[in-house]
Symmetry: D2
């Protein structure tokens, strides 16, 4: 029914729980249903340039459903259009290696390439399709859930589970010590993890990039809680949160060592709260534990469905598309339409309004209104 | 803006993780946003008949987000139209106590009643609205996720987490002992938990009420796996699964003692597999641990959103409706349309097809086809 | 320093979380520290009779720390002294295959055999050592923790975690529905899991084989709790629990089907409580999910320490011994002394007294005393 | 049998999972077994100075078994011998308020004070007993498990669970991205959490205060793993780890903001590894999530046993002692002997040797030896 005989698959960008479940679903669907062979390409697009690939069979994907990361390896620096080539003299230079990638695609005898990756990897995939006619199918992966074409992406629910579990743990310490506890979660450009974790973990304040905050609103919330006999508060901070007027002031660099660590805005916010409000404050930067480990069941299912549908698109020749989740169905969306559209939190969306309705403060409220709200 | 001053809330039917989170959201939304008071009614509709109610404030709902069950109590036998009245002589008789319920609703000074419950409780709510004009708003609760008006209900993801975690544990034992392991999960009339858990937990066979099965197809699957060097299999069984031609043969009654236990069909299936196929088989009935305990984060969020929206419907006078989840938005649906429509698994739906595509067997396959599928 | 060049390792009896961690530790200690090669023998002693073995290197044990079960496979029927031989005519007969096992031990070029197993497997190991002079070292494995020579065995803490987590979930359902909920856990001959889980999960009643119970004491406890406004109770039942005077009345056989299921005594107890006390009762048999899956951290550590010490005993020629945990140190104990001594719960031990002290009822109390205790 | 009629209880120092379980056990043992009343004193010794106390009954401790933190509140600055008194002019001065504490002890009608706390709180308790004759009983609490008088303290196993779970999650990311991942855990003066978590979570390198490390040994380990085809490594770092020759170079202060955050040595180590070895490195500081939240089952049991035994010591007049765990029994130890003895990791203890035996590097090895070890 199809002339597709061999499919390549690669994973690009930062890892996310569920990547391996997608790979497993692709291999199983290829073998069990379609009778198609699969080549796993290593370390993202770099593997295509450097011709690192291996055949994948059922035995290779056994046990992958519960395994975090990606057995194919990945890379954050995998753009073949700007490939970091190491010259014989040891120096690196950026070259366009897309033609090599195309040549290797043909050498491997591939009829389609499934790219599992974020906006960056999918843009490369789209360019390959548009400029070279390489038949591609995309599977969106963003742990931040900030791709507009799909309701949810796999990995997000697992990150949410980790962040919420951390909040649950901080809760009792905050209460016992009468402290303000901050938890900094992922989200440089969008606040989805912070917003969801704040709702799931009972955060009193949620700070996200989309809603610049004022410290006065935070302090008003802490005071209102104190008056109710709750002299402690939980604050969920997205990495990219910033106060009104200020740019994101904290670069995430550790000034003593010069080492570039993940996050850190919460340290500065902590100091301000301590100074301005006289509170005992503690801050935790959750970091990389949000993106690894065993996927939660819903992520395993979503990843599996994405893998199966991407395979179906591939073997039926629906190239240039990616899979997406809408109304609990996996649908197909042209890559050209899907890429480049970041889904940010609308400050007036239903979820934010629901959070405000139960008293969650985002920092853009009038302090006086916050004071009254818990009266 | 509204003349609603006092809202009553009750929980009916079997418990589900997230009930308390709904109650918390209702109380917080009432207090923080709407300035409305809340009466918690005990033990479902029985509490309305027996006038057991208490005012709920912010302090009463503190800590509820992570707590399973319902602080209001619930009852499986709470129909006021067929109330089990205990006569002075000690005998019980079923009487229509709906007028008493209506009278108590007025006595309590309620302007609206929010009913959190399954199809049974919501049908009662709808009848109260239609026959007595009692202003009601519904929040659907079904751990089986089998209500057609909404994509998902809170509690389902937690039940899925428990079932999947059990499968993960059985997996290694099955593998080490070369056994067929059965896990029986909830689902008398619909197989959603079994289907989702089967996908999330790597089940090889999934048996659900909607797809009658043949033992031959199961045995073919076990043999196919053996030939691939996998001499063990995981079978997920919904309580209501039944073989082709047979009614649900196993009544769930324990014949030695006469005690009516939950489930048990998996015991019978286990014996058949053992007898027919010569396999070493073990069966586990997961039972009540699927419906209690700390809700997973997504259930906490869904429950919170439902509570907030139900409150908004109540204070804005949109009675006779219930909340529902569609495309990641909470919408409102007339109760009259929502009740009585069981959402069963369509054997040809995308999710079942995805499962088949990766080799999951439902028992309606031709044994020969199964044999070949993993060749 | 040692003439030991090659060590064999096998796992016998039912699986337990941590088996793989022991295997990993043995292989790593052999390779990293001792420069010794390791042969993994499949499916317990059967593999020695049937000459199923393979060399194990570092790559083979990668990732095993978190994996339940045993990569070597195991068997509950693996006694080489009574080996189930299948004759050419298809019939089975039990033969003494110990000489074959000894011969294969030599053929494989083994200098020592590390046996990871329960009392049965260790008894076979001891007999091999005593009768054939096969140099053996033992690692005790009993998920029930009922071996007297050691304080704790790996796997027990994981089983406890599973049982406690189930109790936590049942708790909220019991409370919401005003029910008596029973949880049946492993423990045919000893009640360690039930006792520990009862303490960890807030059980109100704990029924264990070592303390025959009277229903009157149970009912008195339920009544006492009702009087305190707690009209629900949690009962933890060990598989082998039995009422006073009665033998273990329930054979674990399902009378309808004749299929021999695990456990079931809780069904009978449930019926009695329902009948005698008029309570709404539910029972859950936890079954096999107690012995599989990812080991908890303390089990991973204990398993690792046991593997390392067993390897040290092997390469230093301390044969005929097994490792044991005492006062947080791994020590060595002669197999001849260790086997055959079941560690049962002493009804007057500190742990039982602690449980009684906080109000846990074991069923041997005078009902009147129970009634008063919570007054 | 005893003249003790009323017992006071307080919790001091940083919180630890299991504090509430101790309080619950004390109240239950007092009520159920001993018929003694209990006063809960708020916020550590401060509550004794400021006379903040309330009667505790069975209802107050319901549900506490699974709850992190302490319902009594605690304080890190609670020394009555150096009490921070706020003068009418608003300034603070440190005064000796021990006489006030003694007077309040009498006013409250207490016959004994149970102090649940770390070395600091127990030292104060001992001084009260020695200097004022206040009858005290101690329950040791140290999440770092560094008290020499007892084998384990409650809370430690939960912290270990959190740290191990984080390592499990980092593992797959390290593998997928070919990175060196660092996890910084608690342990300023002792490395118990790092050592146990390293063993449980498969750490390749463990850095603890007791064993100064050399970067060369770390790099040798990373290289050895690369040669085996494992181009990634996990490093567990205790807060107080330090390189050879250097004092603990990193003060934990954030230089940009001046805010004193928890930990941070791992950031500096990360930079060194990156610079010296050319690896892609990431570091996560786990922080406060290690000391909050639901206790694991073994901690719940240990806490309960400690509470019951402390109560027994109190009502039988064995003052001046604290409870301790030895060989799985709770014993009694004079406070005077127990305090002031920090239990540090002996670099030659069995646990460290076991870790080295399976290839864990502590940084004091000769780089050449490390290189060879995985050959």
């Amino acid at each position: 029914m199809t002339s597709v005989r061999r499919i390549g698959v690669l994973t690009g960008g930062g890892d996310a729980p569920g990547l391996n479940a997608v790979i497993r679903a692709i291999v199983r669907a290829c073998k069990v249903e379609h009778g198609v062979s699969v080549m796993g390409i290593s370390d993202g697009f770099i593997g295509l340039v450097e011709m690192k690939a291996r055949e994948l069979g059922l035995a290779d994907v056994s046990g992958l459903l519960v395994r975090g990361g990606t057995i194919l390896g990945t890379s954050n620096r995998g753009n073949p259009f700007r490939y970091a080539y190491r010259r014989p003299d040891g120096a690196e230079e950026l070259v366009d290696a897309s033609a090599t990638a195309k040549k290797n695609f043909d050498k491997l005898g591939l009829d389609c390439l499934i790219v599992i990756g974020g906006d960056g990897s999918l843009s490369i995939a789209e360019r390959f399709w548009r400029e070279f006619g390489i038949p591609v199918v995309g599977v969106p992966k963003t742990i931040d859930n900030d791709l507009s074409a799909t309701e949810y992406t796999f990995g997000f629910a697992t990150a949410l589970e980790v962040a919420t579990s951390a909040l649950d743990r901080l809760h009792t310490t905050a209460e016992s010590h009468h402290r303000v506890m901050l938890l900094e979660v992922m989200g440089r450009d969008s606040g989805w993890i912070a917003l969801h974790a704040g709702l799931a973990g009972g955060g009193d304040v949620v700070l996200i990039p989309e809603i610049p905050f004022k410290f006065e609103a935070l302090l008003a919330k802490f005071r209102a809680r104190e008056r109710r006999g709750r002299p402690f508060s939980l604050v969920v901070v997205a990495e990219g949160a910033a106060p009104v007027g200020g740019a994101q002031v904290f670069a995430g660099e550790d000034a003593v060592t010069g080492w570039k660590r993940l996050g850190g805005i919460s340290y500065q916010i902590a100091r301000e709260i301590e100074t301005m409000g006289g509170y005992e404050v503690r801050a935790t930067v959750l970091g990389h534990i949000q993106r690894g480990g065993i996927p939660v069941p819903t992520d395993r299912i979503l990843a599996t469905r994405c893998g199966v549908e991407a395979t179906r698109l591939a073997v039926t020749g629906h190239f240039g598309n990616m899979v997406a989740l809408r109304s609990d169905e996996i649908v197909s969306v042209p890559l050209a339409e899907a890429i480049g559209h970041l889904k940010r939190v609308d400050p007036d969306c239903q979820l934010v309004r629901a959070a405000r309705s139960i008293g969650v403060v985002f920092g853009d409220e009038e302090p006086g209104a916050v004071d009254r709200s818990e009266g």
